[in-house]
């Protein structure tokens, strides 16, 4: 039977764990705020770039560029964004489940992956996927350089026709409580994302500003040259956005998980304390009985 001392030890151990989970919750909350700010700060660039690219493409009669070329999808490259570590609830496994779903629905095609984040890399390596590259320890501080490196790599493979399409799978950050998973097509560049412009095309059409009617541009450089600089930038921005969103979502997931763990520890402590008191009570009762019966015996 567990003694009083055993209970005290267990309660202390649970309390220690709770302190850790509570601290992790606060750290995650602080990081979440920073990640959210970074994601927010990066938005205007993405919005403006998408707008400029769209209006450029609309003004060029038949935009042609290797990154726009469509081919039958035989070789697919998938970028999978996960976290570097666990303790974030189902964050990593959700992304990986989505990735495997995607792989299943594209059976028969040759699939290559680029994992970003240690968790995804380890899991995909175990599952035996081919890596075109891997990026670990880059999500703690998301920067543009990494996004650019990945973008250059996939654009290069795409232009060489080693791959026929590029997808990116990541957790979108919608709110702290609701995790959403996204599968987005990066290449070939198709319709430029509508919601990047902040408002829908339809609402726009009625109150179009004079600046948005398609008058021809003066091109300081040949339009193909401009397009060929804008498109890779767009891919970079998409990757950067996914990384920022994923990082915010990871911190949110960790915060929620650690909050749950802290609350759970409270419940455990309560239950253990109750038990401990019962055991103590039982011991005292037993002792009294012994004393009483001993006394009556001696009398």
């Amino acid at each position: 039977m567990a003694t009083l001392l055993d209970f005290r030890r267990r309660i202390r151990s649970v309390k220690n764990t709770q302190q850790i989970t509570r601290a992790m919750k606060f750290v995650a909350a602080a990081r979440l705020r920073r990640a959210q700010e970074a994601a927010l700060a990066a938005r205007p660039y993405a919005v403006e770039l998408a707008r400029v690219l769209r209006s450029t493409m609309a003004r060029i009669e038949s935009p042609e560029h290797p990154l726009l070329a469509k081919r039958p999808e035989n070789n697919i490259l998938v970028i999978v964004l996960t976290g570097e570590r666990g303790l974030a609830g189902a964050f990593n496994s959700n992304v990986l489940r989505k990735a495997h779903e995607f792989f299943r629905s594209h059976q028969g095609k040759k699939i290559t992956t680029i994992p970003v984040g240690k968790k995804g890399r380890d899991s995909l390596r175990r599952a035996g996927f081919r890596f075109a590259a891997e990026y670990v320890n880059v999500l703690a501080r998301v920067d543009f350089k990494t996004a650019r490196e990945i973008a250059n790599l996939v654009a290069d493979l795409y232009v060489k026709e080693e791959i026929d399409s590029v997808y990116i799978i990541f957790s979108e950050f919608k709110s702290v409580m609701v995790p959403t998973l996204a599968v987005e097509k990066l290449l070939p560049v198709e319709a430029i994302r509508e919601d990047d412009t902040g408002k829908s095309e339809q609402g726009d059409r009625e109150n179009k500003k004079p600046s948005e009617t398609p008058i021809d541009y003066i091109y300081e450089q040949p339009e193909e040259q401009i397009l060929s600089k804008l498109l890779p930038r767009y891919v970079e921005t998409q990757i950067l956005r996914a990384m920022l969103e994923s990082s915010a979502a990871e911190h949110a997931a960790r915060m929620t998980a650690m909050e749950a763990a802290t609350n759970n520890a409270n419940d455990v402590i309560e239950a253990l304390t109750l038990h401990m008191n019962k055991v103590r009570q039982a011991a005292i009762t037993k002792e009294i009985i012994e004393i009483v019966s001993g006394a009556s015996y001696g009398a």
Binding site: Y45, P210, I218, I226, T237
Partner: protein
Amino acid sequence: MLPEAIELIIVTPQRQLLREKVASVQLPGASGELGILPGHAPLITELGNGELSYKASGGGEPVILAVLSGFAEVLPDRVTVLAETAERPEEIDVERAKEALARAEARLKSTDPEVDWDRATVALQRAFVRIKVGELRRRVHSHSSQ
């Protein structure tokens, strides 16, 4: 009707630097400086490494920023600058830029065949622009303190 002011938007992948009504803008285009006044014809250009300056609608001294490559879209009532890097004078670490300049110069002078000329040249240019714009703050600063 000609618009009276231009909305100048300067964004970088990291942040939005500026969104303001201005009277005129001077852009460091890749094929030469561009002066933009309200009502300019639609234009799109690559940007080089250089100084961007603009005058606020209310008049006053032009404001100068360092812009390192990117794009600009000019519309009659709006100029959108998608810069890779854009910095205000007070944000520039002149000492660091000077070090970068020295490094780039050393690389360009060396006879090492491994040296990436293009990269070193770009580094040199960027350092140059940073120093020039960064030093501006000092001058302005010392003026006002006198």
